[in-house]
Symmetry: C2
Subunit: 304 residues, 2 copies
Protein backbone atom coordinates (compact mmCIF):
# COMPACT_ATOMS: atom_id res chain seq x y z
CA UNK A 1 0.00 0.00 0.00
CA UNK A 2 1.20 3.44 -0.94
CA UNK A 3 1.47 5.65 2.14
CA UNK A 4 3.37 8.66 0.82
CA UNK A 5 1.60 11.91 1.61
CA UNK A 6 0.14 13.12 -1.65
CA UNK A 7 -1.07 16.64 -2.25
CA UNK A 8 -3.17 16.59 -5.41
CA UNK A 9 -2.26 19.36 -7.85
CA UNK A 10 -5.60 21.07 -7.41
CA UNK A 11 -5.79 20.35 -3.71
CA UNK A 12 -8.50 22.85 -2.97
CA UNK A 13 -10.40 22.38 -6.20
CA UNK A 14 -14.06 23.05 -5.51
CA UNK A 15 -15.02 20.19 -7.82
CA UNK A 16 -12.50 17.68 -6.48
CA UNK A 17 -12.06 16.69 -2.86
CA UNK A 18 -15.31 18.24 -1.60
CA UNK A 19 -17.41 15.83 -3.61
CA UNK A 20 -15.70 12.88 -1.94
CA UNK A 21 -16.39 14.18 1.58
CA UNK A 22 -12.89 15.43 2.31
CA UNK A 23 -12.23 18.61 4.23
CA UNK A 24 -14.00 21.16 2.08
CA UNK A 25 -12.17 24.35 3.01
CA UNK A 26 -9.33 25.25 5.29
CA UNK A 27 -11.00 28.20 7.03
CA UNK A 28 -10.69 27.71 10.76
CA UNK A 29 -12.96 24.70 11.20
CA UNK A 30 -11.69 24.14 14.76
CA UNK A 31 -12.70 27.54 16.17
CA UNK A 32 -15.95 27.23 14.23
CA UNK A 33 -16.55 23.91 15.95
CA UNK A 34 -15.57 25.35 19.37
CA UNK A 35 -18.25 28.05 19.13
CA UNK A 36 -20.86 25.57 17.88
CA UNK A 37 -21.12 26.51 14.20
CA UNK A 38 -20.04 23.03 13.06
CA UNK A 39 -20.84 19.61 14.46
CA UNK A 40 -17.95 18.06 16.44
CA UNK A 41 -18.47 14.46 15.28
CA UNK A 42 -18.76 15.50 11.62
CA UNK A 43 -15.47 17.40 11.87
CA UNK A 44 -13.63 14.59 13.70
CA UNK A 45 -14.81 12.10 11.07
CA UNK A 46 -13.38 14.10 8.17
CA UNK A 47 -10.50 12.49 6.31
CA UNK A 48 -7.64 13.82 4.23
CA UNK A 49 -6.94 12.68 0.66
CA UNK A 50 -5.24 9.53 2.03
CA UNK A 51 -8.29 8.61 4.11
CA UNK A 52 -6.68 9.53 7.44
CA UNK A 53 -9.35 10.61 9.96
CA UNK A 54 -8.82 13.89 11.82
CA UNK A 55 -10.03 12.49 15.17
CA UNK A 56 -7.61 9.55 14.95
CA UNK A 57 -4.66 11.84 14.23
CA UNK A 58 -5.56 14.17 17.13
CA UNK A 59 -5.64 11.14 19.44
CA UNK A 60 -2.34 9.80 18.05
CA UNK A 61 -0.50 13.08 18.70
CA UNK A 62 -2.14 13.59 22.09
CA UNK A 63 -4.25 16.62 21.14
CA UNK A 64 -7.73 15.12 21.53
CA UNK A 65 -8.84 16.90 24.73
CA UNK A 66 -11.83 16.30 27.01
CA UNK A 67 -12.94 19.89 27.72
CA UNK A 68 -16.49 20.73 26.72
CA UNK A 69 -16.75 22.95 23.63
CA UNK A 70 -17.24 26.64 24.43
CA UNK A 71 -16.79 26.07 28.18
CA UNK A 72 -13.57 27.99 28.85
CA UNK A 73 -14.20 31.26 30.69
CA UNK A 74 -12.95 34.18 28.58
CA UNK A 75 -13.43 37.91 28.89
CA UNK A 76 -12.15 38.74 25.40
CA UNK A 77 -10.33 37.10 22.49
CA UNK A 78 -7.45 38.67 20.54
CA UNK A 79 -5.65 37.37 17.45
CA UNK A 80 -2.53 38.76 15.79
CA UNK A 81 -2.09 37.83 12.12
CA UNK A 82 -0.18 38.82 9.04
CA UNK A 83 -2.51 40.94 6.90
CA UNK A 84 -2.46 38.54 3.92
CA UNK A 85 -3.02 41.60 1.75
CA UNK A 86 -1.09 44.65 0.53
CA UNK A 87 -2.95 47.51 2.23
CA UNK A 88 -0.72 48.20 5.27
CA UNK A 89 2.38 48.05 3.09
CA UNK A 90 0.75 50.34 0.54
CA UNK A 91 -0.34 52.81 3.24
CA UNK A 92 2.92 52.46 5.22
CA UNK A 93 1.25 51.60 8.52
CA UNK A 94 2.73 49.27 11.16
CA UNK A 95 -0.54 48.00 12.65
CA UNK A 96 -3.97 47.28 11.20
CA UNK A 97 -6.84 47.52 13.69
CA UNK A 98 -9.34 45.05 12.33
CA UNK A 99 -12.83 46.46 12.75
CA UNK A 100 -14.74 43.88 10.74
CA UNK A 101 -14.43 40.42 9.23
CA UNK A 102 -16.04 40.85 5.84
CA UNK A 103 -18.85 38.69 4.53
CA UNK A 104 -18.10 36.00 1.96
CA UNK A 105 -20.30 34.30 -0.62
CA UNK A 106 -18.90 31.33 -2.54
CA UNK A 107 -20.31 29.79 -5.71
CA UNK A 108 -19.67 26.91 -8.08
CA UNK A 109 -20.78 27.91 -11.57
CA UNK A 110 -21.15 25.57 -14.52
CA UNK A 111 -21.71 26.77 -18.08
CA UNK A 112 -23.02 24.10 -20.45
CA UNK A 113 -22.79 24.95 -24.15
CA UNK A 114 -22.18 22.67 -27.14
CA UNK A 115 -18.74 21.40 -28.10
CA UNK A 116 -18.13 21.83 -31.82
CA UNK A 117 -15.30 22.32 -34.31
CA UNK A 118 -13.54 25.69 -34.15
CA UNK A 119 -12.95 25.73 -37.90
CA UNK A 120 -16.36 24.69 -39.16
CA UNK A 121 -18.89 26.24 -36.80
CA UNK A 122 -19.93 29.76 -37.88
CA UNK A 123 -20.07 32.31 -35.07
CA UNK A 124 -23.87 32.57 -35.14
CA UNK A 125 -24.36 28.81 -34.67
CA UNK A 126 -22.06 28.45 -31.65
CA UNK A 127 -22.90 27.73 -28.03
CA UNK A 128 -19.50 28.64 -26.63
CA UNK A 129 -19.23 27.85 -22.91
CA UNK A 130 -15.83 29.62 -22.69
CA UNK A 131 -17.20 32.86 -24.11
CA UNK A 132 -20.12 32.86 -21.68
CA UNK A 133 -17.81 32.02 -18.76
CA UNK A 134 -15.48 34.89 -19.72
CA UNK A 135 -18.42 37.31 -19.70
CA UNK A 136 -19.22 36.19 -16.14
CA UNK A 137 -15.55 36.58 -15.07
CA UNK A 138 -15.62 40.14 -16.44
CA UNK A 139 -18.92 40.86 -14.68
CA UNK A 140 -17.58 39.53 -11.33
CA UNK A 141 -14.95 42.24 -11.59
CA UNK A 142 -17.54 44.88 -12.56
CA UNK A 143 -19.81 43.93 -9.63
CA UNK A 144 -16.88 44.35 -7.22
CA UNK A 145 -16.06 47.78 -8.65
CA UNK A 146 -19.68 48.97 -8.46
CA UNK A 147 -19.79 48.53 -4.66
CA UNK A 148 -17.56 50.19 -2.06
CA UNK A 149 -15.14 47.66 -0.54
CA UNK A 150 -16.50 44.97 -2.86
CA UNK A 151 -14.28 42.09 -3.98
CA UNK A 152 -14.96 39.63 -6.79
CA UNK A 153 -12.70 36.79 -7.88
CA UNK A 154 -12.73 33.78 -10.18
CA UNK A 155 -9.73 31.72 -9.01
CA UNK A 156 -10.56 28.26 -10.34
CA UNK A 157 -11.60 27.19 -13.84
CA UNK A 158 -11.83 23.88 -15.66
CA UNK A 159 -12.61 23.61 -19.38
CA UNK A 160 -14.01 20.62 -21.28
CA UNK A 161 -12.89 19.11 -23.61
CA UNK A 162 -10.02 21.64 -23.39
CA UNK A 163 -8.86 21.15 -26.94
CA UNK A 164 -7.36 23.80 -29.20
CA UNK A 165 -9.78 23.25 -32.07
CA UNK A 166 -12.98 22.51 -30.17
CA UNK A 167 -15.36 25.19 -28.93
CA UNK A 168 -15.67 24.40 -25.21
CA UNK A 169 -18.86 22.53 -24.33
CA UNK A 170 -18.50 22.87 -20.58
CA UNK A 171 -16.72 25.33 -18.32
CA UNK A 172 -16.87 25.06 -14.53
CA UNK A 173 -15.46 27.76 -12.27
CA UNK A 174 -15.52 29.21 -8.79
CA UNK A 175 -16.84 32.65 -7.87
CA UNK A 176 -16.02 34.53 -4.66
CA UNK A 177 -17.85 37.75 -3.66
CA UNK A 178 -16.96 39.68 -0.48
CA UNK A 179 -18.16 42.82 1.27
CA UNK A 180 -18.09 44.00 4.88
CA UNK A 181 -21.77 45.05 4.72
CA UNK A 182 -24.31 42.22 4.57
CA UNK A 183 -26.89 44.24 2.60
CA UNK A 184 -24.31 45.26 0.00
CA UNK A 185 -23.09 41.66 -0.28
CA UNK A 186 -26.68 40.55 -0.83
CA UNK A 187 -27.04 43.09 -3.66
CA UNK A 188 -23.79 41.82 -5.23
CA UNK A 189 -25.16 38.27 -4.96
CA UNK A 190 -28.40 39.26 -6.67
CA UNK A 191 -26.51 41.06 -9.44
CA UNK A 192 -24.44 37.94 -10.11
CA UNK A 193 -27.52 35.70 -10.29
CA UNK A 194 -29.31 38.14 -12.60
CA UNK A 195 -26.28 38.43 -14.89
CA UNK A 196 -25.91 34.65 -15.13
CA UNK A 197 -29.56 34.37 -16.22
CA UNK A 198 -29.02 37.06 -18.85
CA UNK A 199 -25.86 35.38 -20.18
CA UNK A 200 -27.67 32.04 -20.45
CA UNK A 201 -30.31 33.67 -22.66
CA UNK A 202 -27.83 35.73 -24.72
CA UNK A 203 -25.48 32.82 -25.43
CA UNK A 204 -27.99 29.97 -25.66
CA UNK A 205 -26.18 28.08 -22.90
CA UNK A 206 -27.18 26.72 -19.50
CA UNK A 207 -25.63 28.47 -16.51
CA UNK A 208 -25.97 26.52 -13.27
CA UNK A 209 -25.07 28.56 -10.17
CA UNK A 210 -24.60 26.80 -6.82
CA UNK A 211 -24.29 29.45 -4.04
CA UNK A 212 -23.03 26.82 -1.62
CA UNK A 213 -21.48 28.93 1.18
CA UNK A 214 -22.25 32.18 2.97
CA UNK A 215 -20.17 33.65 5.79
CA UNK A 216 -21.89 36.64 7.38
CA UNK A 217 -19.79 39.75 8.20
CA UNK A 218 -18.47 39.87 11.78
CA UNK A 219 -17.96 42.94 14.00
CA UNK A 220 -14.92 42.91 16.27
CA UNK A 221 -16.22 44.48 19.48
CA UNK A 222 -12.86 44.62 21.31
CA UNK A 223 -11.24 46.75 18.57
CA UNK A 224 -11.01 49.75 20.88
CA UNK A 225 -8.72 47.79 23.20
CA UNK A 226 -6.44 47.14 20.19
CA UNK A 227 -6.52 50.81 19.22
CA UNK A 228 -5.73 52.00 22.77
CA UNK A 229 -2.76 49.59 22.99
CA UNK A 230 -1.43 50.64 19.57
CA UNK A 231 -1.61 54.33 20.44
CA UNK A 232 0.00 53.77 23.84
CA UNK A 233 2.92 51.99 22.11
CA UNK A 234 3.16 54.71 19.46
CA UNK A 235 2.84 52.59 16.31
CA UNK A 236 1.37 54.03 13.10
CA UNK A 237 -2.00 52.39 12.44
CA UNK A 238 -5.18 52.32 10.43
CA UNK A 239 -8.58 50.64 10.60
CA UNK A 240 -8.87 47.71 8.25
CA UNK A 241 -11.15 44.78 7.31
CA UNK A 242 -10.23 41.14 7.61
CA UNK A 243 -10.69 39.78 4.12
CA UNK A 244 -9.92 36.15 4.86
CA UNK A 245 -11.50 33.79 7.38
CA UNK A 246 -9.88 33.77 10.87
CA UNK A 247 -10.45 32.08 14.22
CA UNK A 248 -11.46 35.50 15.56
CA UNK A 249 -14.39 35.59 13.12
CA UNK A 250 -15.91 32.60 14.92
CA UNK A 251 -14.76 33.50 18.45
CA UNK A 252 -16.68 36.78 18.09
CA UNK A 253 -19.84 34.64 18.50
CA UNK A 254 -18.87 34.10 22.18
CA UNK A 255 -16.88 37.10 23.46
CA UNK A 256 -15.72 40.61 22.50
CA UNK A 257 -12.96 40.02 19.98
CA UNK A 258 -10.12 42.00 18.44
CA UNK A 259 -7.64 41.39 15.61
CA UNK A 260 -4.23 42.92 14.98
CA UNK A 261 -2.71 42.88 11.50
CA UNK A 262 0.97 43.26 10.63
CA UNK A 263 2.24 44.24 7.15
CA UNK A 264 2.61 41.52 4.50
CA UNK A 265 5.36 41.79 1.88
CA UNK A 266 3.76 42.35 -1.55
CA UNK A 267 0.44 41.20 -0.08
CA UNK A 268 1.39 37.58 -0.72
CA UNK A 269 0.18 34.88 1.69
CA UNK A 270 -0.50 31.12 1.71
CA UNK A 271 2.76 30.95 -0.18
CA UNK A 272 6.45 30.34 0.64
CA UNK A 273 7.03 34.05 -0.08
CA UNK A 274 4.75 35.20 2.80
CA UNK A 275 6.77 37.62 4.97
CA UNK A 276 6.47 40.06 7.89
CA UNK A 277 9.84 41.34 9.15
CA UNK A 278 10.95 40.49 12.73
CA UNK A 279 10.35 44.17 13.68
CA UNK A 280 6.83 44.07 12.21
CA UNK A 281 6.07 40.82 14.05
CA UNK A 282 7.41 42.30 17.31
CA UNK A 283 5.09 45.31 16.92
CA UNK A 284 2.15 42.94 16.39
CA UNK A 285 3.09 40.88 19.46
CA UNK A 286 3.48 44.02 21.59
CA UNK A 287 0.05 45.25 20.55
CA UNK A 288 -1.40 41.78 21.27
CA UNK A 289 0.02 41.86 24.82
CA UNK A 290 -1.09 45.41 25.54
CA UNK A 291 -4.55 44.88 24.02
CA UNK A 292 -5.00 42.02 26.51
CA UNK A 293 -3.84 44.28 29.34
CA UNK A 294 -6.23 47.02 28.16
CA UNK A 295 -9.11 44.53 28.04
CA UNK A 296 -8.23 43.15 31.49
CA UNK A 297 -8.29 46.62 33.02
CA UNK A 298 -11.53 47.45 31.23
CA UNK A 299 -13.21 44.22 32.36
CA UNK A 300 -11.93 44.64 35.92
CA UNK A 301 -13.42 48.17 35.99
CA UNK A 302 -16.74 46.91 34.55
CA UNK A 303 -16.96 44.38 37.40
CA UNK A 304 -16.07 46.82 40.19
CA UNK B 1 7.50 -1.73 -17.68
CA UNK B 2 4.02 -0.32 -18.14
CA UNK B 3 2.87 -0.76 -21.72
CA UNK B 4 -0.85 0.04 -21.49
CA UNK B 5 -1.92 2.62 -24.03
CA UNK B 6 -2.50 5.82 -22.12
CA UNK B 7 -4.35 8.78 -23.50
CA UNK B 8 -3.58 11.74 -21.25
CA UNK B 9 -6.71 13.65 -20.20
CA UNK B 10 -5.65 16.70 -22.17
CA UNK B 11 -4.31 14.70 -25.07
CA UNK B 12 -4.02 17.59 -27.48
CA UNK B 13 -3.02 20.19 -24.93
CA UNK B 14 -0.88 22.79 -26.67
CA UNK B 15 1.35 23.02 -23.61
CA UNK B 16 1.69 19.29 -23.03
CA UNK B 17 2.87 16.80 -25.63
CA UNK B 18 4.20 19.35 -28.14
CA UNK B 19 6.87 20.51 -25.74
CA UNK B 20 8.20 16.96 -25.45
CA UNK B 21 8.47 16.53 -29.22
CA UNK B 22 5.37 14.40 -29.68
CA UNK B 23 3.08 14.76 -32.68
CA UNK B 24 1.97 18.36 -32.37
CA UNK B 25 -1.33 18.35 -34.22
CA UNK B 26 -3.46 15.78 -36.00
CA UNK B 27 -4.02 17.77 -39.20
CA UNK B 28 -3.09 15.58 -42.14
CA UNK B 29 0.66 15.36 -41.61
CA UNK B 30 0.93 12.52 -44.14
CA UNK B 31 -0.48 14.41 -47.12
CA UNK B 32 1.55 17.45 -46.03
CA UNK B 33 4.66 15.27 -46.09
CA UNK B 34 3.68 13.77 -49.46
CA UNK B 35 3.55 17.22 -51.10
CA UNK B 36 6.81 18.30 -49.44
CA UNK B 37 5.57 20.69 -46.77
CA UNK B 38 7.03 18.58 -43.95
CA UNK B 39 10.29 16.65 -43.75
CA UNK B 40 9.84 12.87 -44.10
CA UNK B 41 12.48 11.84 -41.55
CA UNK B 42 11.19 14.29 -38.95
CA UNK B 43 7.69 12.91 -39.33
CA UNK B 44 8.79 9.25 -39.22
CA UNK B 45 10.80 9.95 -36.06
CA UNK B 46 7.83 11.38 -34.17
CA UNK B 47 6.62 9.35 -31.21
CA UNK B 48 3.32 9.01 -29.41
CA UNK B 49 2.91 9.56 -25.66
CA UNK B 50 4.27 6.05 -25.02
CA UNK B 51 7.42 6.72 -27.05
CA UNK B 52 6.37 4.53 -29.99
CA UNK B 53 7.93 5.83 -33.24
CA UNK B 54 5.64 6.37 -36.24
CA UNK B 55 8.16 4.90 -38.74
CA UNK B 56 8.54 1.72 -36.64
CA UNK B 57 4.80 1.22 -36.45
CA UNK B 58 4.35 1.74 -40.22
CA UNK B 59 7.01 -0.90 -40.82
CA UNK B 60 5.46 -3.29 -38.29
CA UNK B 61 2.02 -3.15 -39.97
CA UNK B 62 3.50 -3.27 -43.48
CA UNK B 63 2.58 0.27 -44.51
CA UNK B 64 6.06 1.74 -44.92
CA UNK B 65 6.22 2.00 -48.74
CA UNK B 66 9.13 2.73 -51.04
CA UNK B 67 7.50 5.08 -53.56
CA UNK B 68 9.10 8.52 -53.85
CA UNK B 69 7.07 11.34 -52.30
CA UNK B 70 4.97 13.30 -54.81
CA UNK B 71 5.85 10.92 -57.65
CA UNK B 72 2.45 9.40 -58.44
CA UNK B 73 0.98 10.77 -61.67
CA UNK B 74 -2.36 12.44 -60.94
CA UNK B 75 -4.63 14.65 -63.06
CA UNK B 76 -6.80 15.82 -60.15
CA UNK B 77 -7.50 15.01 -56.50
CA UNK B 78 -10.95 14.74 -54.93
CA UNK B 79 -11.93 14.22 -51.32
CA UNK B 80 -15.39 13.56 -49.87
CA UNK B 81 -15.82 14.41 -46.21
CA UNK B 82 -18.46 15.05 -43.59
CA UNK B 83 -18.80 18.84 -43.22
CA UNK B 84 -17.78 18.86 -39.54
CA UNK B 85 -19.99 21.92 -39.18
CA UNK B 86 -23.71 22.79 -39.13
CA UNK B 87 -24.09 24.86 -42.31
CA UNK B 88 -25.45 22.26 -44.80
CA UNK B 89 -27.92 21.02 -42.19
CA UNK B 90 -28.95 24.58 -41.39
CA UNK B 91 -29.37 25.46 -45.09
CA UNK B 92 -30.94 22.07 -45.96
CA UNK B 93 -28.49 21.25 -48.77
CA UNK B 94 -27.32 17.71 -49.65
CA UNK B 95 -23.88 18.63 -51.02
CA UNK B 96 -21.34 21.30 -50.15
CA UNK B 97 -19.03 22.31 -53.01
CA UNK B 98 -15.87 23.33 -51.21
CA UNK B 99 -14.38 26.37 -52.95
CA UNK B 100 -11.69 27.22 -50.43
CA UNK B 101 -9.80 25.83 -47.48
CA UNK B 102 -9.72 28.74 -45.08
CA UNK B 103 -6.55 30.14 -43.56
CA UNK B 104 -5.71 29.30 -39.93
CA UNK B 105 -3.53 31.08 -37.38
CA UNK B 106 -2.81 29.35 -34.09
CA UNK B 107 -1.42 30.92 -30.94
CA UNK B 108 -0.32 29.98 -27.45
CA UNK B 109 -1.00 32.89 -25.11
CA UNK B 110 0.29 33.19 -21.55
CA UNK B 111 -0.89 35.88 -19.13
CA UNK B 112 1.38 36.40 -16.13
CA UNK B 113 -0.11 38.37 -13.26
CA UNK B 114 0.44 38.06 -9.51
CA UNK B 115 -1.20 35.37 -7.39
CA UNK B 116 -2.70 36.87 -4.24
CA UNK B 117 -5.48 36.28 -1.73
CA UNK B 118 -9.01 36.84 -3.03
CA UNK B 119 -10.23 38.15 0.33
CA UNK B 120 -7.42 40.54 1.20
CA UNK B 121 -6.30 42.11 -2.07
CA UNK B 122 -8.28 45.25 -2.96
CA UNK B 123 -9.39 45.47 -6.58
CA UNK B 124 -6.99 48.32 -7.42
CA UNK B 125 -3.92 46.37 -6.21
CA UNK B 126 -4.63 43.18 -8.20
CA UNK B 127 -2.80 41.74 -11.19
CA UNK B 128 -5.48 39.22 -12.11
CA UNK B 129 -4.35 36.92 -14.92
CA UNK B 130 -7.85 35.42 -15.22
CA UNK B 131 -9.49 38.79 -15.72
CA UNK B 132 -6.99 39.75 -18.44
CA UNK B 133 -7.39 36.34 -20.12
CA UNK B 134 -11.18 36.73 -20.11
CA UNK B 135 -10.88 40.09 -21.83
CA UNK B 136 -8.81 38.42 -24.58
CA UNK B 137 -11.36 35.59 -24.94
CA UNK B 138 -14.10 38.21 -25.36
CA UNK B 139 -11.99 40.13 -27.90
CA UNK B 140 -11.28 36.94 -29.92
CA UNK B 141 -15.03 36.70 -30.39
CA UNK B 142 -15.31 40.40 -31.28
CA UNK B 143 -12.48 40.14 -33.86
CA UNK B 144 -14.29 37.22 -35.53
CA UNK B 145 -17.55 39.18 -35.68
CA UNK B 146 -15.87 42.29 -37.13
CA UNK B 147 -14.71 40.39 -40.26
CA UNK B 148 -16.87 38.57 -42.81
CA UNK B 149 -16.43 34.79 -42.48
CA UNK B 150 -14.11 35.33 -39.53
CA UNK B 151 -13.82 32.69 -36.80
CA UNK B 152 -12.21 33.10 -33.39
CA UNK B 153 -11.98 30.45 -30.67
CA UNK B 154 -10.33 29.84 -27.32
CA UNK B 155 -10.68 26.10 -26.79
CA UNK B 156 -7.96 25.38 -24.23
CA UNK B 157 -7.23 27.09 -20.92
CA UNK B 158 -5.14 26.26 -17.88
CA UNK B 159 -5.17 28.34 -14.70
CA UNK B 160 -2.52 28.52 -11.99
CA UNK B 161 -2.69 27.99 -9.04
CA UNK B 162 -6.38 27.26 -9.81
CA UNK B 163 -7.56 27.78 -6.27
CA UNK B 164 -10.91 29.23 -5.20
CA UNK B 165 -9.44 31.92 -2.95
CA UNK B 166 -6.35 32.89 -4.92
CA UNK B 167 -6.35 35.47 -7.69
CA UNK B 168 -4.82 33.57 -10.64
CA UNK B 169 -1.16 34.37 -11.21
CA UNK B 170 -0.87 32.61 -14.54
CA UNK B 171 -3.35 31.69 -17.25
CA UNK B 172 -2.28 29.93 -20.45
CA UNK B 173 -4.67 29.41 -23.33
CA UNK B 174 -4.93 28.68 -27.03
CA UNK B 175 -6.25 31.06 -29.66
CA UNK B 176 -7.46 30.06 -33.12
CA UNK B 177 -8.28 32.64 -35.82
CA UNK B 178 -9.57 31.65 -39.27
CA UNK B 179 -10.59 33.42 -42.47
CA UNK B 180 -10.75 32.37 -46.12
CA UNK B 181 -8.98 35.60 -47.20
CA UNK B 182 -5.29 35.89 -46.31
CA UNK B 183 -5.35 39.71 -46.05
CA UNK B 184 -8.37 39.64 -43.73
CA UNK B 185 -6.73 36.94 -41.61
CA UNK B 186 -3.62 39.10 -41.36
CA UNK B 187 -5.73 42.03 -40.14
CA UNK B 188 -7.38 39.77 -37.55
CA UNK B 189 -3.91 38.66 -36.44
CA UNK B 190 -2.73 42.25 -36.05
CA UNK B 191 -5.86 43.17 -34.10
CA UNK B 192 -5.23 40.32 -31.68
CA UNK B 193 -1.60 41.32 -31.12
CA UNK B 194 -2.55 44.98 -30.60
CA UNK B 195 -5.30 44.05 -28.14
CA UNK B 196 -2.95 41.81 -26.13
CA UNK B 197 -0.49 44.71 -25.79
CA UNK B 198 -3.29 47.00 -24.63
CA UNK B 199 -4.53 44.47 -22.06
CA UNK B 200 -1.00 44.04 -20.68
CA UNK B 201 -0.81 47.78 -20.05
CA UNK B 202 -4.36 48.10 -18.70
CA UNK B 203 -4.08 45.18 -16.27
CA UNK B 204 -0.41 45.47 -15.30
CA UNK B 205 0.24 41.91 -16.45
CA UNK B 206 2.59 40.33 -18.99
CA UNK B 207 0.91 38.85 -22.06
CA UNK B 208 3.18 36.54 -24.06
CA UNK B 209 1.78 35.63 -27.48
CA UNK B 210 3.37 32.81 -29.49
CA UNK B 211 1.88 32.79 -33.04
CA UNK B 212 3.35 29.36 -33.69
CA UNK B 213 1.40 28.15 -36.74
CA UNK B 214 0.00 29.66 -39.93
CA UNK B 215 -1.84 27.73 -42.60
CA UNK B 216 -2.47 29.85 -45.71
CA UNK B 217 -5.91 29.70 -47.39
CA UNK B 218 -6.14 27.19 -50.26
CA UNK B 219 -8.18 27.46 -53.47
CA UNK B 220 -9.75 24.26 -54.79
CA UNK B 221 -9.29 24.54 -58.56
CA UNK B 222 -11.29 21.43 -59.49
CA UNK B 223 -14.46 22.70 -57.78
CA UNK B 224 -16.26 23.10 -61.10
CA UNK B 225 -15.96 19.35 -61.71
CA UNK B 226 -17.68 18.81 -58.35
CA UNK B 227 -20.38 21.30 -59.22
CA UNK B 228 -21.03 19.74 -62.66
CA UNK B 229 -21.30 16.27 -61.11
CA UNK B 230 -23.68 17.49 -58.37
CA UNK B 231 -25.96 19.20 -60.87
CA UNK B 232 -25.95 16.20 -63.20
CA UNK B 233 -27.06 14.00 -60.27
CA UNK B 234 -29.70 16.53 -59.19
CA UNK B 235 -28.65 17.06 -55.57
CA UNK B 236 -29.32 20.36 -53.80
CA UNK B 237 -26.01 22.14 -53.17
CA UNK B 238 -24.22 25.27 -52.04
CA UNK B 239 -20.69 26.65 -52.16
CA UNK B 240 -18.91 26.35 -48.82
CA UNK B 241 -15.50 26.79 -47.15
CA UNK B 242 -13.50 24.02 -45.55
CA UNK B 243 -12.99 25.21 -42.02
CA UNK B 244 -10.82 22.36 -40.82
CA UNK B 245 -7.55 21.03 -42.23
CA UNK B 246 -7.89 18.27 -44.87
CA UNK B 247 -5.62 16.19 -47.10
CA UNK B 248 -7.05 18.14 -50.05
CA UNK B 249 -5.63 21.37 -48.59
CA UNK B 250 -2.12 19.99 -49.08
CA UNK B 251 -2.78 18.04 -52.30
CA UNK B 252 -3.86 21.33 -53.91
CA UNK B 253 -0.12 22.18 -53.95
CA UNK B 254 0.36 19.51 -56.65
CA UNK B 255 -2.82 19.15 -58.73
CA UNK B 256 -6.28 20.69 -59.27
CA UNK B 257 -8.29 19.60 -56.24
CA UNK B 258 -11.93 19.41 -55.23
CA UNK B 259 -13.78 18.64 -52.02
CA UNK B 260 -17.31 17.38 -51.45
CA UNK B 261 -19.06 17.89 -48.12
CA UNK B 262 -22.02 15.92 -46.78
CA UNK B 263 -24.30 17.17 -43.96
CA UNK B 264 -23.22 16.66 -40.37
CA UNK B 265 -25.83 16.08 -37.65
CA UNK B 266 -25.84 19.09 -35.28
CA UNK B 267 -22.47 20.11 -36.71
CA UNK B 268 -20.71 17.76 -34.27
CA UNK B 269 -17.48 16.04 -35.36
CA UNK B 270 -14.39 14.45 -33.80
CA UNK B 271 -16.88 12.94 -31.41
CA UNK B 272 -18.81 9.65 -31.07
CA UNK B 273 -21.95 11.60 -32.05
CA UNK B 274 -20.60 12.50 -35.54
CA UNK B 275 -23.22 11.39 -38.10
CA UNK B 276 -24.11 11.58 -41.80
CA UNK B 277 -27.05 9.35 -42.77
CA UNK B 278 -26.46 6.46 -45.22
CA UNK B 279 -28.41 8.45 -47.86
CA UNK B 280 -26.25 11.53 -47.28
CA UNK B 281 -23.06 9.44 -47.53
CA UNK B 282 -24.34 7.80 -50.74
CA UNK B 283 -24.95 11.24 -52.28
CA UNK B 284 -21.38 12.26 -51.35
CA UNK B 285 -19.94 9.04 -52.84
CA UNK B 286 -21.97 9.50 -56.04
CA UNK B 287 -20.71 13.06 -56.42
CA UNK B 288 -17.15 11.86 -55.76
CA UNK B 289 -17.41 9.26 -58.54
CA UNK B 290 -19.00 11.64 -61.03
CA UNK B 291 -16.57 14.46 -60.19
CA UNK B 292 -13.73 12.08 -61.12
CA UNK B 293 -15.54 11.17 -64.35
CA UNK B 294 -16.07 14.88 -65.12
CA UNK B 295 -12.39 15.59 -64.47
CA UNK B 296 -11.26 12.63 -66.58
CA UNK B 297 -13.37 13.84 -69.52
CA UNK B 298 -12.12 17.40 -69.05
CA UNK B 299 -8.46 16.33 -68.88
CA UNK B 300 -8.86 13.99 -71.87
CA UNK B 301 -10.32 16.93 -73.88
CA UNK B 302 -7.48 19.21 -72.74
CA UNK B 303 -4.95 16.68 -74.09
CA UNK B 304 -6.69 16.08 -77.43
Amino acid sequence: MKTTLQRPRQWNSPFGPTKKGHVSNPLCRTSGTYVGRFDLETELNKTDVNGIRLGDELERIGYLGEMELGSRHMGAFFEAHIEQGPILEDEEKAIGIVRLGQGIRWYNIEVVGRPSHSGTTPMHLRKDAMLAASAIVTEMNAIAHRHENGLGTVGFMQVWPNSRNTIPGNVTFSADLRNPKPDVLLTMHEELLAFCKEIALDHGVDVNVDPFWYFAPVEFNASDDVKAATEKLGYSHMDIYAGAGHDACYMADLVPTGMIFTPCLNGISHNEAEYSSPEECAAGANVLLHAMLEASERIAKEHQ
